[in-house]
Symmetry: C2
Subunit: 227 residues, 2 copies
Amino acid sequence: MNSSLKLSNRDRAVLMKAPFLAGLGNSALVRLMSMMTISTLPARKFVMREGETADAFYCVLNGYVRLFRLSREGREADIMVCAPGETFAEHLLFSNDVYSCNAQTAEPATLARFDMQAVRDLAQQDPEIAKALISAISRHLVGTMDCIANDRLFTAPQRVANYILSRCPADGSSASIRLPFQKSLLAGMLGLAPEALSRAFSSLRRVGVTVRGRIIQVGDVQALRNI
Amino acid sequence: MNSSLKLSNRDRAVLMKAPFLAGLGNSALVRLMSMMTISTLPARKFVMREGETADAFYCVLNGYVRLFRLSREGREADIMVCAPGETFAEHLLFSNDVYSCNAQTAEPATLARFDMQAVRDLAQQDPEIAKALISAISRHLVGTMDCIANDRLFTAPQRVANYILSRCPADGSSASIRLPFQKSLLAGMLGLAPEALSRAFSSLRRVGVTVRGRIIQVGDVQALRNI
DNA sequence: GGAGGGATTTGATACCGATCAATCAAGACC
DNA sequence: GGTCTTGATTGATCGGTATCAAATCCCTCC
């Protein structure tokens, strides 16, 4: 792990466009950015562990981070996957608690780390930052509620179709998208074993979905909506 | 539906202890309470519907409210059940959006209604209220994350055992609890069909769980933890 | 461009929970 | 207290997904 205070231009651009920071004025932005630290991590590196005291939250600048919980027998359940621009664990800011899940990089990743105590103090003073926090946490809540509904309402092929559609341009009859990560990560996001994801893809062939490596081609977007 | 500005003493006590309001100082409290409206609703009454513009959020004062989403075929998936003292839909405060799920009273209920625009204005001025919102939304996020992990890690009997344990005093070898609502509501909360809940209860008999009506008796709390 | 190794796919099987149908218990209401 | 409606249980069956094992693919690194 390499830790520094300096941002690459690419990472800086991601950070400035991150939902958490995007709406902020210059002074709030400077104050937040002056207290953060940047670190570059290898794949499969733990960023936080269930039960540790929650003294920081993070913003993903590059790569993907997987939040998951472990059962007693060691089985893993993904709770959320964070893409570049997304924050995680910021909802523990005012709870003075421990992390309730593990976070692990799914691939080499760059993260910005924010000290809880420092941001807590800022948020108390600056209503703009408080609002940014509300927005970020609200966004996550919407995501997890969607996730519960998807898990409970839809089968594996339907969840996969929903995911593909969410990454397709809304218009057009055919589309081609590229997965930004491994299929096993997508499987976890959708609450599936990798084998089940694979079978779901192949069952979508009959509605015109072709998969080769990370490339997914959709023959008829509208047909996919009806699955 | 009966709408009024007046609170019963009982409802007032619930409101004052609600996590959302509990930490507030007197002036914030007065301002919030002066803008809310109280309504008493019969069972199975819709409070909000998926797709409607989100112009209010609510705090449950009495009864239970079920948040759920519908599939195209009309199947329902519960996303969250709100008990007295809990708020819902407050996470849409800064998103200017539509409700993303339906809310229905599970039994006769009393709710406090807060106008989004009015609270939004208050939250911008009063950091105390902003903090209360962060806490309320964060609490919900923790709940939904737990829900995802439970769904994905545990079988029906395990989820039921977890629920029972969450309502048992931590110490003691035996315990007796009373469900505060119908079993069908509990089934929905746990992502189960009512039949599956029933079977889960009966499978827990062999670890000393006895169910009669709404009364659940646990012979050995520790044994239940190992399931 | 080719080898090596991890990721993905495919097949066989088992388990879990949904669904449908029928019975049973329990409140609610008069 | 008896009827009547609604909620809960039980049984039988089916579909969906996990799991384990083996084969294959793809990507990365040289």
